[in-house]
């Protein structure tokens, strides 16, 4: 549905994205993950024909975004970052206008607008001025707008930014439901969101793709997957130094809590070192009150990848 080849965008004197290439297949929910300023919005604005790339090409539903921009836009539902809306219009009036603008046939407009209002939970506020809506409702209006012309493809730029946890969950459920019929490209810098909604993830940093895979594979491949947490009374010994001697441990951080110490061990991928840690503690006669394996999260992947070149 989306095909991107060597996309590059230079702003005055500054390259926002470099040589981006990726593909999103039909029915996928692709997460676009990266820290602020990574180039997520830039990529999405290019894909939505809002601005041209400096070089490279991309197609949407088979239409070139530059040469067949109008058809490409007709097949795309785009929700810009921060959801710009006309504050002086009412919800239904705005959606009617957007539906007509996007070419929904006249006699189908009220049906379509009714459907998306239902789907996005906008029935209660349909007569309100958009300017008077809370952030959560604005986000839903933006989503309803993106959906109203039944596009094959949705591009959503940070659909959950600025929402409270309940609203985030609602929007996430909504997106997951939409994923059953639509292809979705969504950007975010919130990690659990990607883990829970996306079938594939692209991690982008400083305008380059650092990784592109399913969330599971990313977790699997990461070298410092997870770790072990140990809370023990080590007396006068240097617990951290002792733990580092175990093969497979990459590094150890210790925090003191009264006479207890908490050690967080980062370990080589795949290894479960709980047994070794237990033997060491038993050997040294440390009292232990916690020994757990911590699963790697996408957060580890993210931190690992986006900090790799700072180190």
């Amino acid at each position: 549905m989306i095909k991107v080849e060597n996309l590059t965008k230079r702003y005055a004197g500054h390259t926002a994205i470099k040589d981006l290439s990726f593909e999103v297949g039909k029915g996928e929910i692709m997460g676009f993950l990266g820290p602020n300023g990574a180039g997520k919005s830039t990529t999405m604005r290019i894909l939505s024909s809002f601005m041209p790339p400096t070089s490279g090409r991309a197609t949407i539903a088979g239409y070139d975004i530059f040469e067949q921009s109008l058809q490409a836009r007709a097949h795309l539902g785009y929700m810009p970052e921060n959801v710009p809306l006309y504050n002086d219009m009412r919800v239904t009036e705005y959606l009617d206008y957007r539906a007509a603008l996007k070419g929904v046939p006249h006699r189908r407009i009220s049906e379509r607008v009714g459907d998306v209002k239902e789907l996005c939970g906008l029935k209660d506020v349909e007569k309100k001025l958009i300017g008077a809506l809370s952030k959560g409702y604005r986000q839903r209006v933006g989503l309803a707008d993106a959906l109203v012309h039944e596009p094959d493809l949705l591009i959503l730029d940070e659909p959950t930014s600025g929402l409270d946890p309940n609203q985030i969950r609602q929007v996430r459920d909504l997106i997951r439901n939409l994923g059953k019929q639509h292809t979705i490209l969504l950007s975010t810098h919130i990690l659990p969101e990607v883990e829970m909604t996306c079938s594939r993830v692209i991690i982008i940093n400083k305008g380059r793709i650092e990784a592109c895979d399913t969330p599971e594979n990313l977790l699997h491949e990461i070298r410092t997957a997870g770790g072990v947490v140990l809370e023990a009374k080590v007396g006068n010994e240097n617990g951290a130094e002792e733990l580092k001697k175990i093969t497979g441990v990459r590094d150890v951080t210790a925090t003191v809590d009264g006479e207890w110490q908490r050690f967080a061990l980062r370990v080589e991928s795949g290894a479960d070192l709980r047994e070794e840690v237990f033997r060491l503690a038993a050997d040294r006669r440390w009292a232990v009150r916690e020994l757990t394996q911590r699963r790697a999260t996408l957060e580890d992947v993210f931190v690992e990848i986006t900090h790799a070149d700072d180190a």
Partner: protein
């Protein structure tokens, strides 16, 4: 074509959402009312060689208020969309740049025409009360309103261009106010400069809105200002379209 009308409808309606439009409407009606009243009282006192309708359309006080309304009705056209970011949802919908430019231009023009409708009443009321025609002929009405439409078109197109150049509405208003005022009052040059040849005077007169108004409001329908203003409006709209497209490359 349908997209254009969808956009146009929104543009026209958006005027009536904003308080600025009502302020302009009240201001304009007030100025027109005062103008009509003072001209009538003046004519009550002495015999004059022109009609009520000619007097109404040809005084400096009125002109001054007239140039003020264009910045007010055009400043938000593009600047507000840039500022709010709604330009992004607008231009990622399947619409062409020229459809947006024309919808904004005609939207403002429709509002401008609406401003003028109540003034028709003045002449109707005058006629009913005094049982005298307010103008020398029907052509005189046609001429004056035609001139207002032509000049309005040109000034609205200047406002469009000013608004597409910035995302600050105030800056847009100042640019269009300056350009419109300079254009408008350049028509007074031939009155101010005395030592110019009659050929120059004639040339200036051809471009002077005030002289054209004088002619047209007497009912002498002249095609030269029509050609002039329509072509200048087209030039302004082409420039607006160019500036609007170049926004993408400047990003």
């Amino acid at each position: 074509m349908r997209k254009f009308f969808v956009l146009l409808t929104r543009e026209v309606r958006s005027y009536f959402y904003s308080p600025v439009a009502y302020i302009v409407l009240v201001f304009f009606l007030f100025v027109c009312g005062v103008q009509f009243y003072t001209q009538l009282s003046f004519m009550n006192g002495q015999a004059v060689s022109y009609s009520v309708q000619e007097a109404f359309f040809n005084s400096v006080f009125f002109w001054f208020a007239f140039v003020l309304i264009f910045p007010l009705i055009t400043m938000r056209l593009f600047a507000e969309e840039f500022k709010l970011g709604t330009i992004e949802s607008l231009m990622t919908a399947p619409v062409r740049d020229w459809q947006v430019v024309l919808a904004k231009f005609f939207g403002a023009l429709v509002f401008y025409v609406v401003l003028w409708i109540p003034t028709l009443l003045y002449f109707a009321i005058f006629q009913v009360i005094t049982k005298q025609p307010a103008a020398s002929s029907a052509g005189a009405y046609l001429g004056s309103y035609l001139m207002m439409l032509l000049l309005g078109m040109f000034y609205v197109s200047i406002g469009c261009l000013a608004s597409v150049l910035t995302k600050n509405q105030i800056v847009a208003a100042i640019i269009s106010f300056c350009v419109i005022t300079v254009h408008f009052f350049s028509g007074l040059l031939s009155f101010i400069m005395r030592e110019i040849s009659s050929a120059t005077r004639q040339l200036l007169g051809y471009f002077s809105a005030i002289e054209q108004m004088g002619t047209l409001s007497r009912g002498e329908i002249d095609t030269r200002p029509m050609v002039l203003y329509i072509s200048m409006t087209i030039v302004m709209l082409v420039l607006t379209h160019q500036a609007f497209q170049s926004r993408k490359w400047r990003l």
